[in-house]
Amino acid sequence: MLCLPAVYYLSTMTKSDSTSSLTDAGQGVIFSIKKYSMHDGPGIRTTVFLKGCPLNCWWCHNPESKKLAPEPVKQGANRPFSGFAGSDGKVGRIMTVDEVIAEVKKDEIFYDESGGGVTFSGGEPLMQPDFLVALLHAAKRYDFHTAVDTSGFASAEVFECILPLTDLFLYDLKLMDDDAHRKYAGTPVAPVLDNLAWLARSGANVIVRIPIVPGITDTPENLDSIIRFLLERSVLRNVSILALNHLGDQKYIRLGMENKLGTLKVPSQERMAELQERFIRKGLHCTIGG
């Protein structure tokens, strides 16, 4: 495999995680596999959520995806944590490539019928690069349509590895200003923009996904800056705007994590339509939701 070893990758991107033995080309950490996933690419899909993320977005609705290692979660009465929270009371599970693909393959008939496939999401799936590449290779052995849902914050080498195996990138673009990106997402923005520009040049099929977080990402400056970037530095014209949601609120409580935006009001449908119009006016194809 062409990719850099995960241990190198991890040591450069997330120094806090010293759990590299959890993920390699044979196995990795998954925190959920969702079937009948309707918003992560075309058709009926299965979304595989890889655990671990170098970002720390305030609006993240999957807080359990941040740490790479499986972690304990408070069990509500008769309320299993969405995804895997087995009898060990932990969210996240080490799975082999074969195990993941066996689960994905179960819905093959639905992909055939609907033009669907598998989406690798996270966390940041590129944070387990060897595992992700191995999963994509395995998916391609079955001719599955593959999508990767990424924050873009990864090394250029990893993108080079997965490009030939990925039919669609769902690429998050949150904040254009470096200071704001550091503040609200926890990392510099430069790699995100560089990788996106590179993907565009390389002819990748990309839908740019923009989370709409009132007062943070939906400022005219930020949105115009995104639009300019897309029009001037890329050939990418497909955009999807996603409204802030509070799906993760319960999870923050059960993980004992701080939820910085727990009370922020979600944008109205009218507001979303207004923003959609803003993108369309500039010649971009824009949908609301996945």
Binding site: K35, Y36, K106, I109, F110, H246
Partner: protein, 787 residues
């Protein structure tokens, strides 16, 4: 919907169901008259129908286009004391119960007390039936191992084919006379029986002509005094229509609908067969009349729609015949399972979707009535736009239409020996039952409580509720060394109770054939006339009898739990499990949680659970399928519960799947409520592991929120979901697009709603995972979506 239809629809919705004594009175007069003793039973029954139609009060409502009521007015409901007698107490219960009441006025109660009850006591079929079946049958019946359909209602499960659109009652009379001429008294030992059956049928055909002619005269009389010019014209049209049909074959769209409606009245007045009797493939039957009307300029899309809507209201005017005894308290629906089919394939197997299909779907959506129910037959040959149109109606959330797999239905019938063209003319009726329309009698004989049999096995043949030994002694479960030993014991009990059921059925079938033949129904279903054999005695070309398995999800999870924890992990001993069941898990909450949450369960596309279902299916199938009934046909299985999973659950104590005592069983082939936590594709994959093609119908219910279907992409995915299930030979699927009330309940009892998916602003997730505030938001939006 125009003003007329709005008015008729409102009248139908507002009318309070009430009991009519008219049929019971006419019946009793006729039986007291002495005519009955002079004739053979079939002739008497045919003559009875004639007497009723000669004397019943006619109803022709203001603004009506399609005419005729079973009772004296919309929602007036006759009774059938020759089958079962409503006691004074039954009438009181029906009148006063909070839900689904049937009003029983004082004068009706007086008639019952003075005439009906005294005369029919000792004469009704139900009393006879309960004395003819043996003690084992009674024990199993009382324990709730099975129900009996024919104890209160006639074996009517059948649907009309296309022949009435080509032949009037006068033509049937000619067919009857021809058949009588051909009787061979020299060689055929049954020639006399056949002649009597045919004579009965002749009376029945004449009876319907009389009803039509009376309506024609009545409409003409009304027209004579009608001041409104338009209405006068309409009444004259009605008079003309009723003069022609049912005596002769219909010549236009209006006559076709009116003719069917008279036929429906004939069937449901003769006996209290389920209203599952219906016109069947309505788009196919009406298309030629529609086209002809358009070509001749006598019909428009609007006028055809109006007539269809008027026709729809007629069905809604007929509440189900009320039950007696215990079932009077339990039965909680006015619906009588009339299921109109659209789509499917033509005789030659090609795509049958036509313009009429879409007009009928428009009517279904606009009328939004409980009755008639409707379904779409979806073949791989039908276009997606048809399925998408259906999905748009499903989305509106009133549970219609349900979706059926034509290609599977045809294969099911062909496996049973039905000719392929007859099979293509068929479909599904009632809930999900497969049948060849116009040529098959496919009688449901009773629901069968599979988990109850399992409970009896766990108790070594005893019913723990009563302590009575009603099964066979298959051994103390603590003595079973392997899972296979336990399963073998279960299979023995299963075969034991199926034997009891089938023995009872064979007695009951003969009682109906001899005591209450159905000469009118016999006119409609081939080959009753040709063979001079009654519908209830095997006159139909195909005669299937069904036993409907209930609780497949529950039993699968029970077996999976025992196998996993008692035999594989050995983490729970059989004695500990049995003690916990006895105490309804009180004090064993941890054990119960293990059973509930750490067991592979049906509905998750997990073979560790689903393999148990495959095995149960084989056992149930081989216990029933292919055994002979008394009508020249065979017993078959299907897997559907209607609402019986609630009753069946009420007679079972705690079970090894973690279910507490008295709680409803799983419904249809759906997973146990809340056991499926991997979304609809996983449920569908699990359900497809049943061999649907060896059944006569299975029922799969899926819950969706309206948001999941809010946009075109959501609708498309629903179409893909359906197509995928049908590729795997799934028989039927229906979508329960949940309302706010259900979501409220999900908040109260989240463990029962773990499978409920909601769509929230472009994302979807399990409802119970959402924060309380977000749940509120979804509910609020759902309520808006319901408006």
């Amino acid at each position: 919907m125009n003003k007329r239809i709005k008015k008729l629809r409102t009248e139908s919705l507002d009318a309070q169901p009430y009991l009519s004594a008219e049929r019971a009175v006419l019946l009793t007069e006729f039986y007291k008259s002495g005519e009955v003793e002079k004739e053979s039973v079939p002739v008497a029954r045919g003559a009875l129908l004639k007497y009723i139609f000669e004397n019943k009060i006619l109803y022709l409502g203001d603004a009506e286009l399609i005419v005729g009521e079973k009772g004296n007015a919309p929602k007036s409901t006759p009774t059938y004391p020759e089958i079962c007698i409503h006691s004074m107490q039954d009438l009181e219960i029906l009148d006063s119960r909070e839900k689904i009441p049937y009003k029983a006025a004082d004068h009706i109660r007086n008639i019952y007390e003075d005439d009906i009850i005294p005369f029919w006591t000792g004469r009704s079929l139900r009393e006879k039936l309960l004395t003819e079946v043996d003690a084992q049958w009674i024990d199993a019946y009382e324990a709730g191992v099975f129900t009996e359909f024919m104890e209160q209602r006639a074996p009517g499960h059948t649907v009309e084919g296309g022949k009435i659109y080509k032949k009037g009652m006068a033509d049937f009379i000619k067919d009857i006379d021809d058949a009588m001429d051909k009787l061979d008294f020299f060689n055929d030992n049954k020639a006399l029986d056949r002649r009597e059956q045919l004579r009965g049928m002749r009376h029945a055909a004449e009876a319907l002509i009389i009803l039509g002619k009376r309506y024609s005269i009545y409409a003409m009389e009304m027209a004579a005094t009608e001041k409104d010019v338009n209405r006068k014209k309409e009444l004259e049209t009605i008079a003309r229509v009723c003069d022609r049909v049912p005596e002769h074959a219909p010549e236009n769209f209006h006559e076709a609908l009116q003719y069917y409606w008279f036929v429906h009245l004939g069937v449901t007045t003769e006996l209290n067969t389920w209203d599952s009797f219906n016109p069947g493939r309505l788009d196919q039957h009406l298309m030629p009349f529609y086209k002809q009307g358009l070509d001749e300029g006598t019909l428009t899309k609007e006028s055809a729609t109006e007539l269809l809507q008027a026709f729809w209201i007629k069905f809604n005017n007929q509440p189900a015949p009320p039950k007696v005894g215990v079932t009077a308290q339990e039965s909680a629906t006015y619906t009588d399972f009339c299921l109109i089919n659209v789509g499917g394939v033509k005789d030659d197997g090609s795509d049958a979707v036509n313009e009429m299909t879409f007009i009928i779907l428009d009517v279904i959506e606009e009328m939004r009535l409980l009755q008639p129910s409707s379904m779409c037959q979806v073949s791989k040959k039908n276009p997606n736009r048809f399925v998408r149109r259906a999905a748009k109606i499903i989305k509106t959330g009133f549970g219609q239409p349900s979706i059926f797999n034509t290609d599977a239905i045809i294969q099911e019938m062909v496996r049973m020996g039905t000719d392929i063209v007859d099979a293509r003319r068929g479909g599904a009726s009632g809930c999900v039952e497969t049948g060849a329309f116009g040529t098959e009698s496919y009688v449901l004989t009773g629901y069968f409580n599979i988990p109850k049999v399992f409970e009896i096995m766990l108790n070594n043949g005893k019913d723990p509720r009563t302590g009575k030994c009603i099964g066979i002694e298959t051994g103390d479960p603590e003595s079973f060394k392997t899972y296979d030993e336990l399963y073998a014991a279960f299979e023995l009990q299963l075969n034991h109770f199926i034997d009891i059921k089938i023995k009872g059925n064979r007695i009951i079938e003969r009682l109906w054939a001899s005591m209450l033949p159905a000469p009118f129904m016999s006119l409609l279903i081939d080959d009753c006339i040709a063979t001079g054999t009654d519908y209830n005695a095997g006159g139909a070309r195909y005669n299937s009898s069904y036993i409907q398995g209930v609780g497949t999800g529950t039993i699968t999870d029970c077996l999976s739990a025992i196998n996993t924890h008692v035999f594989i992990d050995k983490s729970i001993s059989m004695s500990k499990l049995m003690a916990a069941l006895k105490n309804d898990f009180s004090g064993s909450e941890d054990l119960r949680n293990t059973l509930l949450f750490n067991t592979p369960r049906y509905g998750n596309d997990d073979d560790r659970a689903d393999d148990h279902l495959r095995r149960i299916f084989e056992s149930f199938f081989s216990a029933v399928d292919g055994r002979p009934n008394t009508k020249g046909g065979q017993y078959r299985i299907n897997l559907l519960p209607t609402t019986c999973h609630v009753y069946f659950g009420s007679v079972i104590g705690a079970l090894p799947d973690g279910r507490k005592a008295g709680v409803p069983l799983s419904e249809g082939i759906s997973p146990v409520q809340g056991a499926d936590i991997n979304g609809p594709t996983a449920v569908i994959k699990s359900a497809a592991k049943i061999d649907h093609l060896r059944t006569g119908g299975t029922l799969l219910n899926q819950k969706f929120t309206p948001q999941l279907l809010a946009d075109d992409a959501g609708l498309d995915k629903l179409v893909h979901l359906i197509r995928s299930y049908f590729k795997m030979d799934g028989h039927h699927i229906q979508f329960n697009v949940v309302d706010a009330a259900t979501l409220r309940k999900a908040q109260e009892v989240p463990e029962d709603y773990r499978d409920l998916i909601v769509r929230v602003a472009g994302y979807s997730d399990y409802f119970i995972d959402l924060s309380p505030a977000l749940q509120e938001e979804v509910i609020l939006r759902t309520e808006h979506a319901d408006l």
